[in-house]
């Protein structure tokens, strides 16, 4: 009797499952690259729009000569530090605001004010305060990532199922332990969603900051290659940073799925 009660989801067969789906997903990009290759040097001058083959060669070249390596390393460090800081501060702030009215009232106005502001608008100001370099980039990345993480953590912490809290208290969990035993685990899915949303923002803000206020990093490399007329190298840098951002999001989603087997 017990077994037929087990809930099993309906499975709709997907005609594009597995490898076929993977190929199918990438067809639009493939078409774009093919079209680009055809147009370049014919409809548009090769110097303005270098063909993908030239960009590919420049990409290989950037790694072969080692030119891109220090820039990429610096950029990854900035994204890593900025994002990590925003996770720590964002989670604490988001959950803290749900637990204490004083904390919520204090930070609410700041968060409401910086929410609609494009964080890249703060680059000149950050530059003035922190000078050219890593500190400015980290600050901008931090600010750009903070909001989605705070919002998701706060929303989740405020909406923890009341009966879960009641059950835990009934079973002898003190208010202090309640935080670790119930509030944190119940909030984890949305914290991870917030981080997932923040990752693209991290790269957007990183490149914006580096274009203006850095002597190193992928943003700076894009600017330098552009101003020196090395367009294949410029495109190659954009391709590399896009691939890195894509991998970061994809990798994070894999981790997230593994952590959230229970959702």
């Amino acid at each position: 009797m017990a077994t037929n009660e087990l809930w099993t989801p309906e499975r709709i067969p997907d005609p594009f499952a597995g490898v076929a789906k993977l190929l199918f997903d990438w067809i639009p990009l493939l078409l774009l690259v093919l079209g680009w290759e055809v147009v370049s040097g014919r409809a548009v001058s090769e110097s303005v729009l270098p063909p993908p083959t030239a960009v590919a060669a420049a990409t290989v070249d950037l790694f072969a000569t080692g030119e891109v390596v220090p820039h990429l390393a610096v950029s990854l460090l900035r994204v890593g530090v900025g994002l990590s800081l925003s996770i720590v501060v964002g989670v604490l702030l988001g959950i803290g605001m749900s637990q204490s009215e004083a904390v919520e009232n204090f930070f609410d106005v700041f968060l409401s004010l910086i929410y609609p502001l494009p964080k890249t608008a703060l680059v000149p100001l950050a530059l003035l305060w922190l000078g050219i370099g890593t500190k400015t980039a980290v600050l901008i990345v931090f600010l750009a990532c903070l909001l989605p993480i705070v919002m998701n953590a706060n929303n989740a912490a405020e909406n923890v199922d009341r009966n879960l809290i009641r059950s835990a208290r009934m079973m002898g969990t003190s208010d202090r332990r309640l935080f670790w035993k119930v509030v944190i685990p119940a909030t984890i899915p949305e914290i991870l969603t917030g981080i997932r949303q923040a990752i693209p923002f991290a790269f957007i803000s990183l490149i914006s900051a580096e274009l203006i206020a850095s002597e190193q990093g992928m943003g700076r490399l894009i600017r330098d290659a552009g101003s020196l007329g090395r367009y294949p190298a410029m495109f190659a840098t954009i391709v590399i940073i896009s691939a890195v951002a894509y991998t970061a999001v994809y990798g994070f989603e894999q981790v997230r799925e593994r952590v959230l087997v229970w959702t």
């Binding site: 009797m1 809930w7 009641r166 002898g172």
Partner: protein, 260 residues
């Protein structure tokens, strides 16, 4: 300490000023240790409020509510609540859910594990220990919730329409399981339901509540021999008579709602 509950002149008011609504008014009722009592009433009669007051989730406005003679002060492990929506921790497996109360009580791992397994087996959940709640049907979730509550051995079970979301055959299975548990484990049970048949089938006494504000209307004693199979119980004269009695009393209340 036998798990008796004493309620005297209980009053519960929600809100203030013009928002004031009296949910429960002057309710007095005593429940013996080991007794199975159901509370039925029209929706909005305050029966869930009453249960949550006994659980310690809600403050009272006036009167006293005590367990074994001691006034209630917040939730505590002498009582256990089973909710209609199960309230299982979704990040914990079946086994981990059942272990929760034992962990919090500081029971040594090995002993806790054996106790949890005993109640998992009792609730026919063997083989599902490592499943997460999302993988279970409603009936199984409610059995996990029951096992989790029984595992830390509260004297009093407070059940808030626990089978309300389940279909009839499943509900009957769980009702019979509950009767067995009650017979074996010597618990006081306060069972909230709007299902008259369920109330009479399960309980020794059924309290019918009035609506707006809620208070005790009538109490029906049900004297059934529950050792036999369900078909013998539901076809007995006592069952039919008491079911009609409770139904009539409840009917008066529901009617007064339509014709104020």
């Amino acid at each position: 300490m036998d798990g008796s509950i004493g309620i005297s002149n209980l009053e519960k008011v929600y809100g203030e000023g013009t928002e004031r609504t009296k949910a429960i008014d002057d309710l007095s009722f005593d429940i013996d240790g080991g007794e199975f009592v159901s509370v039925v009433g029209p929706s909005g009669c305050g029966k869930s409020t009453l249960l949550y007051i006994i659980a310690g989730f809600l403050d009272i406005t006036d009167g006293t509510v005590s367990v074994d003679g001691t006034p209630i002060d917040g939730p505590g492990t002498d009582r256990g609540v089973v909710f209609q929506d199960y309230a299982l921790f979704p990040w914990r497996t079946v086994k981990e859910n059942v272990l929760y109360g034992l962990e919090e009580a500081g029971v040594p791992d090995e002993e806790a594990d054996a106790t949890a397994q005993r109640f998992i087996d009792m609730m026919d959940l063997s083989g599902f220990e490592n499943k997460y709640p999302k993988e279970l049907s409603g009936g199984m979730k409610q059995r996990v919730a029951l096992a989790r509550t029984l595992a830390y051995d509260p004297k009093i079970l407070l059940m808030d329409e626990p089978f309300g979301a389940l279909d009839q055959p499943l509900r009957e299975t769980l009702q019979d399981q509950l009767i067995d548990i009650w017979g074996d484990l010597d618990k006081t049970v306060v069972f909230i339901t709007h299902d008259v048949e369920e109330a009479v089938y399960l309980s020794e006494r059924v309290m019918i509540m009035t609506r707006h504000p809620g208070t005790k209307k009538t109490v029906t004693e049900v004297d059934l021999d529950r050792s036999g199979p369900r078909e013998d119980i539901v076809t007995s004269d006592e069952f039919t008579r008491k079911k009609n009695e409770v139904w009539r009393s409840l009917r008066e209340e529901t009617k007064s709602e339509v014709q104020p």
